[in-house]
Point group: C2
Chain length 349, copies 2
């Protein structure tokens, strides 16, 4: 009869009539006598031995797990990152531990702190806000961390960012070229990292391009569809004339705006041109297909995974934190009536 519970190297050793050290050697491909190897493999096979990864981890101080933390895995942007990250980690022999923290900043900090429990060898995190607490934890944490999104100051951690200001500029330039002059902006929370950057870029970019922004043409909410619909309602019902173009801080907001515009009988892009951001899968599916500023989510995910794996492999050589920047691209679709498919910003002014 098999012993209670799963077999361990001790069980195998007894069954094979050798010591646990020999079992371990065979299992790890170290040199042993052929006869020993045969007996161990035989016993292991017969008893269905599987090494215990927890014990291995305790010994080696390596869990072969990497954590990935985002605000909401339902958001297509984060999903796009995950889809790139997951296969890269798997190929490198790591499992992926997924954290979906929710809007609460404290939970993000908690994830950072939780790394101290050593359940993972490293972390890729996309913080929605970066508070002093984030910074403090980032300094304290021992395991390698890659942050996706802008980080204050340098040298805090490996960092993958995108130039969302430039992305906003590309969108505004595109709209201006189409002859649009009265631009509206629907944003997510301005006190978040992406919300703040987009808000600031919108202000600067419209001024620079000589575009008009009416008082009522700014709306701030969350990064979801309801906010897009609500923003359009407010603008349509306000005293100012309806904008002839709408920049939305992400694709979800833009989809909500499209719905609300359709509900009011406004034509897109005839009456109002609409631009989203992130260029998620939804942009191609929506009607009309959505012009969107790609911030390279997939690419950022890929870079993040590479940076982290690199650090884990390179024998903890503690080199200086690295920063990778991904260029935004404008993907033009029917919601602005444009014909070009891609503007990578390299065309002459």
């Amino acid at each position: 009869m098999a012993a209670r519970g799963s077999p361990t190297i001790t069980t195998i050793a007894e069954a094979a009539g050798v010591s646990i050290a020999s079992v371990s050697r065979v299992l790890n491909g170290l040199p042993v006598r052929a006869e020993t190897e045969r007996r161990v493999l035989d016993a292991a096979g017969r008893l269905g031995y599987v090494p215990n990864s927890v014990a291995r981890s305790l010994r080696s101080a390596r869990t072969h797990q990497i954590a990935f933390a985002v605000e909401d895995i339902g958001n297509p942007v984060y999903l796009a990152m995950l889809r790139e990250i997951q296969p890269l980690l798997k190929a490198a022999g790591y499992r992926l531990v997924l954290h979906s923290t929710g809007a609460d900043t404290a939970e993000e900090v908690e994830v950072l702190r939780g790394l101290g429990q050593r359940y993972a060898d490293g972390l890729i995190i996309v913080p929605i806000r970066v508070t002093d607490e984030h910074v403090a934890e980032l300094r304290a944490v021992e395991a390698p961390v890659v942050v996706i999104g802008s980080l204050p100051g340098d040298g805090l951690a490996d960092n993958v960012r995108t130039d969302s200001r430039r992305g906003v500029d590309m969108a505004l330039r595109h709209l201006a070229e189409l002859g649009r002059r009265r631009i509206g902006f629907i944003n997510g929370p301005a006190d978040t990292v992406p919300g703040g950057a987009r808000s600031e870029a919108f202000r600067a970019g419209t001024a620079r391009a000589g575009l008009t922004v009416e008082d009522g043409a700014l709306h701030e909410g969350r990064f979801d569809r309801e906010t897009g619909a609500e923003g359009v309602r407010r603008m349509a019902e306000g005293p100012a004339p309806m904008p002839d173009a709408l920049l939305c801080a992400n694709d979800l907001i833009a989809l909500g705006a499209l719905d609300a515009l359709r509900a009011r009988g406004l034509d897109v892009p005839g009456d109002v041109a609409v631009v989203g951001m992130d260029d998620t899968d939804l942009a191609a599916v929506s009607w009309p297909p959505l012009t969107s500023v790609s911030l390279g989510s997939a690419e950022r995910g890929r870079h993040a995974a590479r940076l982290l794996l690199d650090r884990l492999d390179s024998g903890a050589a503690p080199s200086a934190p690295r920063v990778v920047t991904v260029e935004p691209r404008l993907v033009v679709r029917a919601s602005t009536g444009g014909a070009r498919v891609v503007d990578n910003g390299s065309a002459a002014g």
Copy 2:
């Protein structure tokens, strides 16, 4: 100066001038003298002690991790499940380890086998196929497993399923009621669990409803958009008349079909009514909005998480495997021109 590496209970014990047993007691809320508690907490706080979860796991044989395995986390159906499962696990104190196995059946079996390494306390898996190997592993595995999707025979594992045959029937009945008679069907791989069930249900359902299925009105591919577009192309270019209604085995296929129909100048639902399956977020976003058979993905995820947590909590009382069945619902949108929003099948025949 702090010692090298993170502090352990040994470090704390030395700093506090007590034994490691006392440190452990304080940390676990066991009765100790007030003075001892103070000294330990003080030292722990000062040195930034964080318990090592790996060591804890080795001792307790509990990892507080649960694995979730699907074919492709990019598929909105699996994402919908994940979005329900993740918060439930988190609330119960478990981390989520995500596996995206890809189309390869062997990888699914590998995940099952990998559980033997004890890196997780349980597993929720959505197999795309169920081979003899799956069955064998399911029998052998010691940790609790919940399978989402139909399972051959009973008692193999806790199981959450849906009656996709009934779902197909509801869609066919809907189309028949709308006066459609020539029905086309675009399926994913028929040798998969969902593909097989849908194929069989389509055959039976059309016969029962007296609907016509032309030879060229069946297309089999993958569960993706390209397959939907390809299916429409084939049907349009074949000798048989174009179907006046199309059942697609999932929403992605349906979206591809919509694209291809539009490209050929065919009106939906005027010329061809289209029904998808899974009722993912995409169905509401597409144009026209897509009528779809909801198979309760979110609900299935929730049930699966509950079943598993239940088993983990109930002190390993090895009760008989349980089966939960989720009822399909037809969600009618513009792609079939219908007006009803939901048909839960309870209406009189």
